[in-house]
Amino acid sequence: MLYKIADVVFDINPIFDYSKRLMKEYEYSGNLSVDYIVEYTLKDVEKTKSDFELKDDDYAENIHIFKLISQYITEFKDGLLYHSSSFSYKGQGVLIVADSGMGKSTHSSFWRRLYGDDVVMINDDKPFLRRIDGKFYIYGSPWQGKHNLGANIRCELKAVCLLQRSNENSLEKLEKGEFVSDFLNHSLRMSTPEVALKILDFCQGIMENVDFYILNAKYDVSSAKVCHDTLFGEL
């Protein structure tokens, strides 16, 4: 079965139904040639299951597929799986970055509440980022987080917001090209020097080409309004 994820065509034949169901939206029947045949055995799945201390085989297979796909995109497709909540606002991509449990998804939900259909969720947990012809894009992925929010779409990345909890709302723009350690810290683990250099190069590209902000956010909808008004102007 072919799947197109982040504009990369994968040939994957899941053993269990769980992965088939999860990736259904990404099935592909077009004419592009296959970039990567995702091959593995039940033994590989068993290893992932024990490495990550997982309970179920079907879930372990899914994590295994996820791992192979993200490694391939990092190594060969100038991209990265990036743990974040992402949405498009009137066609412009916004990435909300924070540690787990800090309220990325909640902040995105405030945007949806305030701006309705102008906000389209790309992926609430694990979107792919890619650089194509010097431009950076956010892509949906089958791994959409606990609320299962996202779509099989892509959108040019306009802004990266590093969310911090605060008693006051504000959005401060960082100097272009400045190193943002919190951004790099959320990228994939650096397994080999080659992969680490690819990730560094990719992150450097984003830091030099995309606007970065520190988003100090209260835990209510007012934080989305402040963020929106600074990024896109008041309605």
Binding site: E175, G177, E178, F179, L184, N185, R189, M190, Q204
Partner: protein, 88 residues
């Protein structure tokens, strides 16, 4: 004293970024080291290989520090690299 070959480095913006690499990095260390000019001065020396006395001496001279202060700064820095597992 010399660094282990388990990292990659690159200049981004005004910072020098040092990233520990390896499959078990995540279990031991979560972070990425960003160095300013001073840190990078020490780091470059360690990359080449240097004795402690010489390193502290050069560092003190370059930044006009007294030796005890330079020594404590170097030691703090080395501990940071140890935590990142790129220096034993």
């Amino acid at each position: 004293m010399k660094l282990q070959n388990k990292y990659v480095s690159r200049k981004i913006g005004k910072k020098y970024i040092v990233v520990p690499v390896g499959n078990d990095v995540e279990k031991r260390f979560n972070g990425i080291i960003s160095l300013n000019e001073t840190g990078y001065f020490i780091f470059k020396k360690l990359e080449k290989g240097v004795e402690m006395d010489e390193l502290v001496g050069d560092f003190a001279k370059e930044y006009e520090l007294d030796t005890p202060f330079a020594l404590s700064e170097v030691q703090t820095f080395l501990n940071k690299l140890k935590d990142a597992n790129i220096y034993d």
